[in-house]
């Protein structure tokens, strides 16, 4: 690990100034960053501890939504009665991820910014266009069974590993950001970037931008929402496919729906085509399957990850059936 300086920031402005200067990173839970520093993938010369900035809170917004501080620990967010009753999909997604120990350390901001678990990205002895632009991507012809089928490029087929972000995507979350120039809001839908020819750029955030909070809009249909995760062991593993869904069915007809897929792309994949296909349709396994197929028509799987299409289809159908009370 490279040697680094350390400071605990007492004010956000101070933290932003230090990290915006470059060769520096924010430290919150550290569950991903410290691991990447040990591997040599992350090499900051300065760590700025932001855990004393008072960013650990869950509060109600005047419009009925929620504001979640970026420093809120994953375990506290999942335990929040407001989240559990109004946005169960979010509590379920968080609880589906990592372990009790990691959720106690990991924060909301860090969860959004965690890096891919693609083995080539984590292995300095291998080329990787995300870690070292221009060096190539061995994953397409190598180990890719859990890599992307949507939105990938010749340069990168990494997936975003977060469960929480998949739920936030379905809930139309808005990210509150503070920079030297001031504050701004970024809808989650505009936050992540697809890899294209610059897979090293993962979000629209410039160096030094600090995520301070995540806002959830009031969304009554989210009271009837769920997260379903498919993985290779029963617990404590990254998804091979996941589904976040909220559904409003009246008299057997889908009045409104939110649907997002995880572990398929470099970002949580909001399934807007499937949503459009479902609104106004009779809730049925066939309609759910057709909607998933419409979204997944854009998939460009590789030999060892084509199975994800049937995994995500089955997970989507099951989740939507559960929420609508329809027998699959």
């Amino acid at each position: 690990m490279r040697e680094f300086a350390f400071t605990r920031a007492e004010r956000a402005e101070e933290a932003i100034r230090l990290v915006a200067a470059g060769d520096a990173a924010y430290l919150a839970g550290g569950t991903n960053l410290v691991d990447l520093m040990k591997l040599g993938v992350a090499r900051p010369g300065l760590l700025v501890d932001i855990t004393a900035l008072g960013l650990d809170f869950v509060t109600e917004l005047p419009d009925g939504g929620l504001r979640i501080g970026a420093g809120t620990r994953n375990s506290d967010l999942a335990a929040s009665p407001l989240v559990r009753s109004r946005y169960p999909v979010l509590a379920q997604a968080i609880l589906a991820g990592a372990s009790g120990q990691l959720r106690n350390q990991a924060t909301v901001g860090g969860n959004l910014l965690q890096r891919t678990r693609c083995t080539y990205f984590q292995d300095l002895s291998k080329p990787c266009d995300k870690r070292r632009p221009g060096s190539g991507c061995p994953a397409r012809t190598g180990e890719h069974h859990n890599l992307a089928i949507l939105g990938a490029s010749e340069h990168c087929i990494a997936t975003h590993p977060s469960d929480m972000a998949v739920a936030l995507s379905a809930l139309d979350a808005v990210i509150q950001v503070q920079e030297s120039a001031g504050r701004r809001e970024i809808p989650l839908a505009d936050f992540y970037l697809l890899p294209g020819d610059r897979p090293d750029r993962e979000t629209v955030l410039p160096q030094g931008a600090l995520i301070t909070a995540v806002d959830l809009p009031p969304l009554p249909l989210a009271r009837r929402s769920a997260y379903r995760k498919v993985r290779e062991r029963a617990s404590y593993a990254f998804a091979i496919g996941s589904v976040a869904a909220a559904l409003d069915v009246v008299g057997g007809t889908v009045r409104d729906v939110r649907l997002s897929f995880g572990a398929l792309a470099a970002m949580p994949w909001r399934a807007r085509l499937a949503e459009e296909a479902l609104r106004g349709q009779t809730a049925s396994p066939e309609a759910f399957r057709d909607a998933a197929a419409r979204e997944l028509a854009a998939a460009r799987p590789l030999p060892d990850n084509a199975y994800k299409i049937s995994v995500i289809t089955a997970a989507a159908v099951q989740t939507l059936c559960d929420l609508s009370g329809v027998t699959p």
Partner: protein
């Protein structure tokens, strides 16, 4: 970069005792405990947050000490397996692990026990898990399925899971 800026004087509060250490910032809490304070009950397994052998309590919550930088743990209350009980005065969770033969090689045991103690506290506070049927329910019924899910961050290569679940059940009563 000068040496001074890459190390700091750090006060760690471990098992009720304050220790003043000079630490390279790269030192994890796990290495500080084992290599600087000779508290070798906390074990190094994967050193990547994947096995749970290094589980300690930080301000009462279970965490992976291998992913916590010691300098970032300054001022917090740290409890290790040595702080839970002693050979003459075992913690009820330690007694249950002995009584139920919940180990073979024992390497994962300190992490299992620290994790289990904090896990019962989480249940007491009504925290749900991924297998809790009704996520809005604030009273958790701790059956084997709940224990297995909540303890999934602690791996046991000997496969002593059956007796680990049994010991935790006993200690929870």
């Amino acid at each position: 970069m000068s040496d001074a800026s890459t190390s700091s004087g750090v006060e760690l509060r471990v098992n009720g005792t304050r220790h003043r250490l000079s630490l390279d910032h790269r030192t994890t809490l796990l290495d500080a405990l084992r290599e600087h304070l000779d508290l070798t009950g906390t074990k190094k397994g994967c050193d990547r947050g994947q096995c749970g052998a290094c589980t300690v309590l930080l301000d009462g919550r279970r965490v992976n000490a291998c992913l916590v930088l010691a300098v970032a743990a300054a001022g917090k209350q740290i409890t290790t397996i040595e702080g839970l009980g002693t050979s003459g005065d075992l913690h009820p969770m330690q007694e249950a692990f002995v009584a139920r033969d919940a180990l073979q090689c024992g390497y994962c045991t300190p992490g299992q026990i620290c994790s289990a103690v904090a896990m019962l506290d989480e249940v007491q506070r009504g925290w749900p898990s991924a297998v809790t049927a009704d996520i809005t329910d604030e009273t958790i019924r701790l059956d084997d399925i709940e224990i297995r899910e909540r303890m999934s961050g602690n791996l046991c290569r000997c496969g002593a899971y059956v007796n680990i679940v049994s010991a935790i059940t006993e200690a929870s009563r």
